[in-house]
Amino acid sequence: MTWDWDVAKDFLPELLDGLLITLQATALGSVLAFALGLVWAMALRSPTRFVRWPVGVFVEFIRNTPLLVQLFFFYWVLPTWDIKFSALTTGVVALGLHYSTYIAEVYRAGIDGVPVGQWEAATALSLPRGRTWFMVILPQAIRRVVPALGNYVIAMLKDSPMIALIGVTDMLQNARSEGATSFQYIEPYTMVGIAFILISYPASLLMRALERRLGH
């Protein structure tokens, strides 16, 4: 193995550019996933089965099919319906939608963990439905699942290189184009791999610490 520091130094600016895109996609994707996940979680608790069943089937379907294929679906099918996004936006939508189905399950677990007495108290005080959800239940439910949510953000970060395959210039895509133009494969790919470990390992330690603090 011949490691060339000059190549590594040349690639560093591109790596950082790519890192910015990677983080951007993960951050935007997480926001979308948190919001959509809440929609699914609340719809799955709807009193009528005409809402629960279709949403349930949709969520199961998204969760049990590969993100990569969903990404290609959005990238190639949406333009035929005259919905045109940039590659990055498509990537964010796909990441956000895919992970929202996992996040919905996390919220559901959190909501189930809120004692029944809280619901009853809200009813006894005749709080309207909206206030019961947003002022009573969700603040308690979300607090206990913060570490789990964080872990899904880390998971999304590690899935984000998939958007390179629809041409978003993230870290992996920059490594691929560096390899294609200069035939230097060793340094770029190794650096991208190490960059992921350097971000996700401290992040997972943080989540573990958070879990202990919020813990039981």
């Binding site: 199961e60 379907f61 099919t65 590969p66 294929v69 190639w76 984000s160 039981h216």
Partner: protein, 247 residues
């Protein structure tokens, strides 16, 4: 889609995806049990090295690892792997690292009295593991392994990026040939869902068998995804966190 595309690309693609899932799952299971058991070792150096393995392979992205094995191995170590095996290696190493956390957790969850009883009966450490600990730990591992297996199935779609002709690769070719993206990708998504459903059913069967062996009944559960309690969800997602998705 034309009959030719079905016959020459999609059907062989389905077979490749099944093979990939099977081989990577077997490899990942071997890695998971090996590393998971070694992590309970009494020697700190063994625990440290296996801990490093788990953190490195859980920390990096499966797709990046796959590209690394595909492009860097031949140049750096002069080892050219057949794309299919590079893919199995990447998936097996990554999901083996996730799986080892499941194994470790299940081993730790066996009641300490069981271990003590085995020591009192002067079982050797190997006998203790094989006769007492594992038979009780394995049924506990099956539900999280089921989730991981679905993640693995979904992750096999990544191999199309290193030109292994799986279902996703066949879809790309068909799209280039016919341009019917909506039709093709809908079929492909449906196929993956059916595969995931079949795998879940098989794992449920396995769970029922394993639980029956130690005199327990399996809990009732939903159509595909197993519902978890808040505590389990947190424990599981932090323990086994997700690469190609979650759990």
């Amino acid at each position: 889609m034309t009959a030719g595309l079905w016959e020459h690309w999609l059907l062989p693609g389905i077979w490749i995806t099944i093979q990939l899932t099977l081989y990577s799952a077997l490899f990942a299971t071997a890695v998971a049990f090996g590393i998971g058991i070694l992590r309970t070792s009494r020697l700190w150096i063994v625990r440290f090295l296996t801990g490093c393995y788990v953190e490195i392979f859980r920390g990096t992205s499966a797709l990046v690892l796959m590209f690394w094995l595909f492009f860097v191995m031949p140049l750096g170590f002069e080892m050219q792997l057949v794309p299919m095996w590079a893919a199995v290696l990447a998936l097996g190493l990554t999901y083996g690292a996730y799986g080892s956390e499941i194994v470790r957790g299940a081993l730790a969850a066996v009641a300490p009295a069981q271990r003590e009883a085995a020591i009192a009966l002067s079982f050797t450490p190997a006998q203790r593991m094989r006769r007492v600990i594992l038979p009780q730990a394995i049924p506990e591992m099956i539900p999280p392994f089921n989730n991981l297996l679905i993640e693995l199935l979904k992750a096999t779609a990544l191999v199309s990026a290193v030109s292994v002709a799986d279902i996703t690769f066949a879809a790309q070719l068909s799209r280039l040939a016919t341009g019917e993206s909506l039709e093709i990708y809908s079929i492909i998504l449906g196929l993956y869902f059916v595969l995931a459903f079949i795998l879940t059913r098989l794992m449920r069967l396995l769970e029922r068998k394993a639980k029956a062996n130690i005199g327990q009944a399996p809990p009732k559960s939903g159509l595909v995804t197993r519902k978890l309690s808040a505590q389990q969800e947190t424990a599981q997602s932090s323990g086994t966190v997700v690469s190609g998705g979650a759990q």
